[in-house]
């Protein structure tokens, strides 16, 4: 280990054995609650000290928030009408079959 302190070390990467590049691969496991206790603690410690990773995790949270707000499109009125026709036909068949 070199005694030299590289400038980026002070700026971006906190001490500990978890690199930023590794952390970004653990975000989903973290958010899903799938990290073992020890790894979860390492993850949180890193994020609390690393501006870059904190920003990255926040970007992902915002991504999820955007995805969760996208409304699906409605069925076309024709498709809905066809389904109601199918329902009526099903009902007729049910009634002519009698209770099963």
């Amino acid at each position: 280990m070199s005694p030299l302190r590289l400038p980026w070390r002070r700026r971006a990467q906190p001490p500990g054995d978890l690199a930023c590049q590794e952390l970004v691969e653990l975000v989903t496991d973290y958010l899903e609650g799938a990290l073992p206790e020890r790894d979860r603690a390492r993850f949180e410690e890193h994020v609390s000290m690393c501006e870059g990773c904190a920003a990255y995790v926040e970007q992902l949270r915002q991504t999820l928030s955007v995805l969760g707000r996208l409304e699906p499109e409605d069925l076309s009125p024709e498709a809905e009408r066809e389904l109601l026709d199918a329902f009526r036909q099903w009902k007729r068949e049910e009634q002519s079959d009698g209770p099963s």
């Binding site: 928030s65 409605d74 498709a79």
Partner: protein
């Protein structure tokens, strides 16, 4: 709860109440269409898969016991129909194929890191207002395109989990994919959508 409301509507539909069936179709039709779209290449094929799903519902209505939620049952029928259709239109690949190892698909471009794995430059703080963003056609297009470009299994998982808000246990039941594989697929899909947003924000 939504599930209770569904159970009531299913009961009424079973007794022949058309209005209850129409309500079920309106409640769940849009979600089914969106999930179907993850499997098939065209809107028309997705609509067909949704139609087939509801016909399957009618055929199975007598037998539906409510052991799973109605929504889970619906998604299961849909996924079956949509997969068959996807195969026919030669888009679908077997679901078990999660793909090659993690190293091949990093969440963030390796050039963003030093040899020691630290950021070369810090990712910027985003300040998206999700409400405003959801109304932005531009952004909707960006996200839709990013999702469309995903491999099918990633697209299906992110659609169910993050767009539809289905929990991981239900997705496991609907797709027969382990929680671990589900997380891998979700991770890759989310990373790519984040990247697409990043490029849009930077531009």
């Amino acid at each position: 709860m939504a599930d209770d409301a569904d159970a009531l509507l299913v009961e009424r539909a079973r007794e022949g109440d058309e209005d209850a069936f129409a309500q079920l179709v309106r409640r769940h039709g849009p979600s089914l269409l969106r999930v179907a779209r993850a499997y098939v290449p065209t809107q028309a094929a997705a609509e067909d898969a949704v139609q087939e799903t509801w016909l399957g519902v009618l055929r199975g209505l007598e037998r539906f016991e409510g052991r799973s939620s109605f929504r889970t049952w619906l998604f299961r029928i849909l996924v079956n129909r949509a997969k068959t259709r996807g195969v026919r239109e030669s888009r679908s690949v077997p679901f078990a194929a999660v793909g090659s190892g993690d190293a091949d698909e990093p969440a963030v471009d390796p050039s963003r890191f030093t040899a020691d794995g630290a950021w070369t430059s810090l990712p910027p703080r985003w300040d998206l207002d999700p409400e405003a963003v959801a109304r932005s056609h531009d952004l909707r297009r960006i996200v839709d395109e990013a999702i469309a470009k995903l491999p099918e299994n990633q697209r299906v998982v992110i659609t169910l989990r993050d767009l539809e808000g289905v929990d991981s246990e239900t997705v496991r039941n609907v797709l027969d994919v382990s929680e671990t594989n589900q997380r891998v697929l979700l991770h890759r899909a989310r990373a790519k959508v984040r990247k697409a947003l990043e490029e849009w924000i930077d531009a």
